[in-house]
């Protein structure tokens, strides 16, 4: 890839596993990708493919019985995996922050939103209570919360879904992070509110050069927001490409199906593509390619290798890699 100075985050061979009674869950199984400043990188895939665990790993928020077992997360020349927790707290919520799924359950129900917002500033920027409150009002104004002076006194349950999401975003932006991880930031919202939130994130990127990792299964949102896309399946990246190229010439059979499953306005004549079966059990993964039990391309092309040996990520065009035997 091109000039290395701009790389803000570089994930190398990350493996995160959960040691459960039922066995070891290979939630993230050796992924590599990087994010440059001011770039929006998408992580897409079905529920349970490891998208959220990847983001929690970057935030170092993997709880017991989970653990990052291998790999490096280089953030601005520092390996977050090796960093002591005492230094990680200075990065988390400050230089790297996250918007979680389900805002209503991520906010603390017994604190007023203004206090939750100014807490971030008090901790990371060492401001007093009054300044914190003033900044909280500014932040709420910035994310488009009407009447912010009275909203800072509201409790989370008094906010609608869209409002709560904006408070979450305001909180994530409080310290002007260099990297923002947005985990399904608009899934629970109306299209109109979604459009507002996406616009807000776009502004942030152009005005403050914030890099964004966007996790979603809404490919429309990906097409609109991202520069790069990583398609994940069973804890692995199966395809990596610039967004336009990915939608124009998807290579991996899984990516092809994902794109085919998205309805297009006004083209309802043919059935949507679906994939039989469901994501594999991450404790007991199939041998070979993890997608073979659901793959129709394997049958069409009569490939015998798929269930025996796992394909490697192969570069098939500049900046476009895919993990599939079809392209070997």
């Amino acid at each position: 890839m091109d000039n290395g100075n701009n790389v803000l985050l570089d994930i190398k061979n990350l493996r995160t596993q959960f040691f459960t009674e039922g066995g070891v869950v290979h939630a993230v199984d050796g992924i590599n990708f990087s994010v440059r400043r001011g770039e929006v990188v998408g992580l897409v895939g079905e529920s349970g493919c490891g998208k959220s665990v990847t983001s929690l790993s970057i935030m170092r928020l993997i709880a017991q019985p989970g653990r990052i077992v291998e790999g490096q997360i280089i953030f601005d020349n520092e390996d977050l995996v090796a960093l002591p927790e005492s230094r990680m707290v200075n990065i988390r919520g400050n230089r790297v922050s996250m918007i979680f799924q389900q805002p209503q359950s991520s906010l603390n129900p017994v604190f007023r939103v203004g206090d939750q917002l100014s807490e971030v500033l008090q901790i990371h920027q060492d401001v007093g209570k009054e300044v914190g409150e003033r900044r909280a009002i500014e932040l709420l104004t910035m994310v488009g919360v009407p009447d912010p002076e009275s909203r800072i006194k509201a409790f989370p349950h008094e906010l609608s879904g869209g409002m709560a999401q904006r408070v979450m975003i305001a909180m994530a932006l409080a310290c002007v992070p260099e990297l923002l991880i947005a985990d399904e930031p608009t899934t629970a919202l109306d299209v109109t509110i979604q459009a507002q939130i996406l616009d807000l994130m776009r502004n942030l990127r152009t005005k403050m050069d914030t890099a964004i990792i966007l996790i979603t299964h809404d490919l429309g949102v990906v097409a609109e927001m991202c520069d790069w896309v990583n398609v994940m399946y069973a804890g692995r990246i199966v395809e990596q490409a610039p967004v336009v190229e990915l939608f124009k010439t998807p290579k991996h059979p899984y990516t092809v199906a994902l794109i085919g499953s998205t309805p297009i306005l006004g083209h309802a004549d043919k059935p949507l593509t679906t994939i039989p079966g469901s994501v594999p059990n991450l404790v007991d993964l199939p041998t070979g390619c993890k997608f073979w039990p659901r793959c129709t391309a394997r049958i069409q092309h009569n490939l015998e290798i798929c269930d025996k040996e796992e394909p490697a990520l192969k570069t098939i065009a500049p900046n476009h890699t895919v993990r599939c035997w079809l392209y070997e």
């Binding site: 079905e46 109306d190 299209v191 459009a195 998205t262």
Partner: protein, 335 residues
């Protein structure tokens, strides 16, 4: 063009208000719409526009604080609003109009086996024997693609998609005339969503049922829709043929709604509507969308009636008033 299908359900001036301490909430405020046999009418709008309340008003599933509840709902040639609650429950609900509630996958009874749950409506509403009901349930579960050995399982043992299918089977087991689907795919993964949409398309083809689909997911709704009704602040602001709606929405609100849908294969920057939908406690006078409308003009302070456009499309916006289009060319609708 062949003959249009007969009308199954017709709502006229349907109103449902809720009593609150701060005053009446006008959740459904004078709604008219038609549903034809074996067709699907999609009702789209933002959260809080009254979509789900409309479903409740049609099925008469009223919460305790329901206040004003009037208007007409014609099922074929019977005004079912005139029935008393007991006959409504016996003759209409589930037997002729059924529903897949919002978050249906979590609406299943956790302590009842799937087979028993799906057959229950047939026992209660169709007076079937347990055996016959189980047979119908099995048939319907097969129809919607739930494996037969799931009959003895509990909801928590099923995936989201399978639970959604079971809820659909439960709504279809009595072979009703109309099924109301409230956000049937909103909590599901794209791939599961795609297979549920395909299933509903197939159900519509195979059974002679009509569907009312309530959703805020416009792209998905286009998969099933024959007609589209756009709801805003308790009222329907546009209604008409789906194909023409999706290519060229008429109302400025419909326009904004469509423009905010992210597209996969286009690079146009999506637009968005600023502000929030109004409170239904004190809806604005005049046009209810006027405060957020980019095309607002002086006439908007008066409540617009429904105007007829292109023969059979209806739109509640002064821009479509012929008198205004003639007299003020600056307000011409830009196509």
């Amino acid at each position: 063009m062949d003959q249009p299908n007969e009308t199954v359900l017709r709502a006229r001036n349907l109103r449902l208000y809720f009593q609150t301490r701060r005053g009446p909430v006008q959740a459904v405020d004078g709604v008219d719409f038609d549903l034809r046999k074996n067709e699907a009418t999609v009702i789209i709008g933002e959260s809080g526009c009254g979509k789900s309340s409309l479903a409740k008003a049609i099925l008469r599933l009223l919460p305790r604080n329901a206040g004003t509840y009037d208007g007409e709902v014609w099922l074929h040639d019977q005004n079912i609003m005139l029935l008393n609650d007991e006959s409504f429950r016996k003759e209409i609900r589930w037997r002729r109009i059924s529903m897949v509630p919002q978050a249906a996958m979590n609406a299943l009874n956790p302590v009842m086996r799937i087979g028993d749950q799906v057959s229950e409506p047939a026992i209660v509403h169709m007076n079937m024997t347990k055996e016959d009901a189980t047979k119908s349930a099995v048939r319907m579960l097969e129809h919607v693609g739930v494996p037969i050995d799931f009959l003895h399982r509990y909801a928590f043992e099923l995936s989201g998609g399978m639970r959604q299918r079971s809820a659909l089977a439960m709504a279809l087991v009595t072979l009703p005339d109309v099924v109301i689907l409230d956000e049937p795919t909103s909590a599901l993964d794209v791939l599961t969503q795609a297979s549920i949409m395909n299933l509903m398309k197939r159900m519509k083809k195979e059974l002679e049922t009509s569907f009312i689909l309530i959703t805020h997911d416009i792209a998905t709704s286009s998969e099933l829709a024959d007609n589209v009704a756009v709801m805003y602040a308790g009222q329907i602001v546009e209604v008409g043929d789906a194909r023409r709606f999706f290519t060229k929405p008429l109302h400025p609100y419909s326009h904004a709604l469509m423009a905010s849908v992210p597209r996969l294969r286009e690079t146009i920057e999506p637009e968005f509507i600023t502000g929030q939908p109004p409170s239904l406690l004190n809806p604005p006078t005049g046009c209810r969308f006027k405060d957020r409308c980019p095309k607002r003009f002086d006439k908007c302070d008066e409540a617009p009636p429904m105007f007829i456009e292109e023969g059979d499309r209806q739109v509640r916006c002064w821009l479509y008033d012929d008198a205004i289009q003639m007299s003020r060319p600056e307000y011409q609708v830009v196509a």
